[in-house]
């Protein structure tokens, strides 16, 4: 796959653009990428105020979000604003765009080279390890971070950002170098933390197995729910006599 050349995403061009024009550039990237991936493009926009989560340091706790129902990729407005260079916004976009691709591949597995990976994505989509799981310590942060869909999205976003800025734009600025150093530090810390939480260096497999067990548990719960019955004892409509020991006829309706 060749990344499209979107001039406005170069750091020196991004610097002079308004937020709207920055979003327009990301939308142009999305249209081109979606076409290459044979999927419908999402609309790239800011996370609405009521859904934003900002830490005490003023940085977003939720950097981006893929909404497959509304077909939107949302980026926290802080990443699009003011003097910020484009890198974090672009990498976040690539991350969420990868989720859009994963959703598409689940519906059309023939487009992805790796049926086992799509099978994992499909299960992960049904048994996503999210914020409530972490909030209650049902799952560790590393289960979220390294679950198949997130590990893949992070990896692809990293590679594409590097390809765009180092490969295509040949951005040799200190700004980009500092950004890349921080990202790699973050990855290293995520790995270190995962090894600590899981007590194994095979953290991706550990997260995958946890996801699969969540998937199994949720399938079991769905089966139990679908078997919830309303027992309605219905006597036979004719007046046939029932001999002692015979059962009455039952009508069983299944409630959802």
């Amino acid at each position: 796959m060749t990344l499209p050349w979107i001039e406005e995403l170069r750091e020196e061009n991004w610097a002079v653009l308004s937020v709207d024009r920055r979003l327009a550039a990301l939308n142009e990237m999305e249209r081109a990428l979606a076409q290459q991936e044979t999927r419908k493009p999402c609309e790239v926009k800011g996370i609405p105020d009521e859904s934003r989560r900002i830490g005490a340091d003023g940085e977003p706790i939720l950097r981006g979000h893929n909404d497959p129902i509304e077909k939107e990729i949302q980026i926290d407005p802080i990443l699009l604003s003011g003097d910020r260079p484009p890198y974090q916004a672009v990498e976040t976009y690539f991350h969420e765009a990868r989720h859009a691709y994963q959703d598409y591949a689940i519906e059309h597995p023939e487009i992805h080279d790796g049926p086992e990976q799509v099978a994992d994505w499909q299960k992960n989509d049904a048994a996503y390890i999210g914020e409530e799981d972490i909030e209650l310590d049902f799952a560790k942060f590393s289960h979220y971070r390294w679950q198949p869909v997130e590990a893949d999205a992070n990896r692809i976003a990293y590679e594409r950002t590097e390809e765009l800025y180092t490969g295509m734009f040949q951005d040799a600025t200190k700004q980009y170098q500092d950004y890349r150093t921080n990202v790699e530090k973050e990855i290293f810390e995520d790995i270190d933390y995962a090894v600590y939480e899981f007590e194994t260096s095979d953290y991706e497999q550990e997260a995958r197995l946890f996801m699969l067990s969540k998937h199994e548990a949720e399938l079991d719960m769905q089966k139990q729910d679908s078997l919830t019955q309303t027992d309605t004892l219905v006597e036979s409509s004719d007046s046939e006599e029932v001999e002692p020991g015979e059962d009455y006829g039952y009508y069983r309706g299944y409630s959802p």
């Binding site: 706790i61 981006g64 799981d133 049902f138 942060f141 979220y144 999205a153």
Partner: protein, 106 residues
């Protein structure tokens, strides 16, 4: 040492805060006995859901909730580990390192 009233806490988490029951049950299943200052914080939370300004080794409950994006009771559980001298020093050091790290979702 302070033992939480699991029934009371479960009722709050499920009925009042709408958390998923089986996840709440897992949280409470092996919930440890707490050191006194953390026990007092839990008592206050049970009364009025406020988070006491309690810190352990410089980590406040609120900080841990914010940085690790965890519920009050999970933050208290983690800080309780720092106070447990039976847990090896390296384990507590690792926990300290992670408690100050902001989690980020994408």
């Amino acid at each position: 040492m302070y033992k939480i009233n699991k029934e009371k806490v479960r009722k709050i988490l499920v009925d009042e805060m709408n958390y998923t029951p089986y996840k709440v049950d897992l949280l409470l299943k092996d919930y440890p006995s707490l050191r006194d200052q953390l026990g007092e914080a839990v008592e206050q939370w049970l009364k009025d859901r406020t988070v006491a300004d309690v810190a352990v080794e410089g980590f406040s409950i609120k900080d841990v909730m914010e940085k690790r994006q965890v519920h009050f009771l999970v933050a208290v559980k983690k800080l309780n580990i720092l106070l447990d001298k039976s847990i090896p020093v390296e384990e507590r050091d690792k926990l300290r390192k992670t408690l100050s790290r902001q989690v980020v979702f994408k």
